[in-house]
């Protein structure tokens, strides 16, 4: 493309790299930003830099954390015997909204997807196995998305963890197939958590 003057094109290119932002939206957002008062633009830029500097991955569950551990891993009242495995930190929010779950989490930071070159070795799978060995985990709930990649990841993990003698359950019943956990409404997801099946 490269139709605009230097810095404008750089901005459009950078925005276009964001997930879900096509070239047209990138252009629209760029021109919106250019019209903003300088202090508004600076606030946005600062918030990105600030978040990037202060937020990192929880060293235990790979959720986002300020400091070593995330708020769920720091919370002593949570049941460490049950670990809910999700793809992304935003999925934790979805599970929390149900107010049904009092265990801990493990964030894979993705799902198996050969098309995108993502295999199990690119996910936090090894770290999950280490946790299972080190913490007294009794049940693993596989709450990956109910789409092809999420199902494949859940199957892969079940094949890996079941031989270790743990209870492995999958929440899926009632969840819309092909959907994202993030978009499942609280009631459906809550029921699914209740009615999780052993795999």
């Amino acid at each position: 493309m490269g139709v605009y003057e230097g810095p404008v094109q750089v901005l459009i290119d950078e925005l276009g790299r964001l997930p879900g932002v096509g070239p047209k939206s990138a252009q629209r957002i760029a021109f919106h930003l250019l019209k903003l008062p300088t202090e508004d633009a600076r606030r946005l830029a600062d918030s990105i830099i600030d978040a990037k500097a202060r937020v990192s991955w929880c060293t235990r569950c790979f959720n986002i954390a300020e400091g070593d551990l995330c708020s769920y891993c720091r919370d002593e009242r949570r049941d460490g015997a049950v670990v809910c495995v999700v793809e992304e930190p935003r999925d934790i929010v979805a599970v929390e909204r149900t107010a049904e779950f009092r265990g801990r989490y493990h964030v894979l930071q993705g799902a198996i997807s050969p098309i995108e070159g993502i295999g199990p070795e690119h996910l936090r799978v090894r770290e999950l196995l280490v946790r299972i060995g080190a913490e007294s985990v009794e049940e693993v709930i596989l709450a990956t998305n109910p789409n092809i990649e999420g199902e494949a990841t859940a199957m892969y993990l079940a094949n890996l963890i079941k031989p270790l003698g743990l209870k492995v359950t999958r929440i899926a019943s009632g969840l819309p197939v092909g959907g994202d956990l993030e978009y499942a409404d609280e009631v459906t997801l809550g029921r699914a958590l209740e009615g999780r099946r052993e795999v």
Binding site: G20, P23, P114, G117, I148, E151, A152, M155, N159, P176
Partner: protein
Amino acid sequence: MTAQAARVARLALTDFRCFTNVEVELGEGLTVLRGPNGQGKTSLLEGLAWPARARSIRGVPDAALVRAGADAAVVRCEIREGTRTQSFAAEIHATGRNRLQLNGNAITRHRDLFGVLRVTVFTPDDLELVKAGPALRREYLDELLEMLAPRYVAATSDFDRVLRQRNALLKSAAREGLDTTTLAVFDEQLVSAGGEVVRGRLQLLTRLVEPARDAMRALGEGDDIAFAYVAEWGGGELVLDDLDSVEDRLREGLETLRRRELERQMTLVGPHRDELRMRLSGLEARTQASQGEQRSLALALRLAGHSVVTELTDSAPVLLLDDVFSELDARRSAVLVGLLPSGQTLLTTATAVPSGVQPACELLVQDAKVGVA
């Protein structure tokens, strides 16, 4: 027949193909869209049918539907069935996600559109259904399945996705070595999604035979037709008795063909490899039937599909006939006119309609505008 018939009562297209803005009201019976070629008749059918499949009936990507220079094409329509009226709206983007609305509510999945509108489409290209390779015949079966139950909409799109993932995995195995644990997972997914598609096709095919025979007889052809569903991975022809063993056969096929799959870096087992073989009086319809017989068989396939969908869903699809009479001789045209089921029908033509056709309404489509003829 006591089936209901859904119909599109009103259609509005904005920045869709050649149309900047067009709005039409459509009646219940037969509407003839007349006008010179290349001025919007087929595009109007394409817009009307878009909600049925959430994609073009001409098999082109969404980008081709957006008028040059516009950001998005918009399809809005009102669909009436019995006493019920539903409103549908779609914003179709050349790149990025489309936005769909049903009765004012946003919908995110194709499956949520299930049953809102069904269409049966006849085009002059239908001859290819009989003459061309197996891909078009597989598509014919799958499009019918998707009209029959939401789970088939899910199964066909799931299978597609599994196939792409599995092929990517086989390709990467050539570069980085085979990860057998991950392949095992995609094998199992291929078996469950593929199994559902194969079982659906087998059951559908059994239902199609009789109505197809009826249509052939009415068209004055021999009615000695036979359909066979051939799956090479499953050892040849599959029949209705094989329904329960489809998954096992897929698993066996995967085992047998593993080496070849790894060599060729592609999935060789599954419904995407299958063939619907058709015989006329014992002869291969694809290669040994006359062009006239092939045309009749193509019409028979469309009519049979329409009748099976009408029977199983208790609702007749809207009939869209795009310029079909231009390719048919007078005799077959007359028979087709006589065979057309009742219900809303839209017919495009650049010339006169065959005798016997009695339109309830005629519209003139010219220069990307629609007017009363």
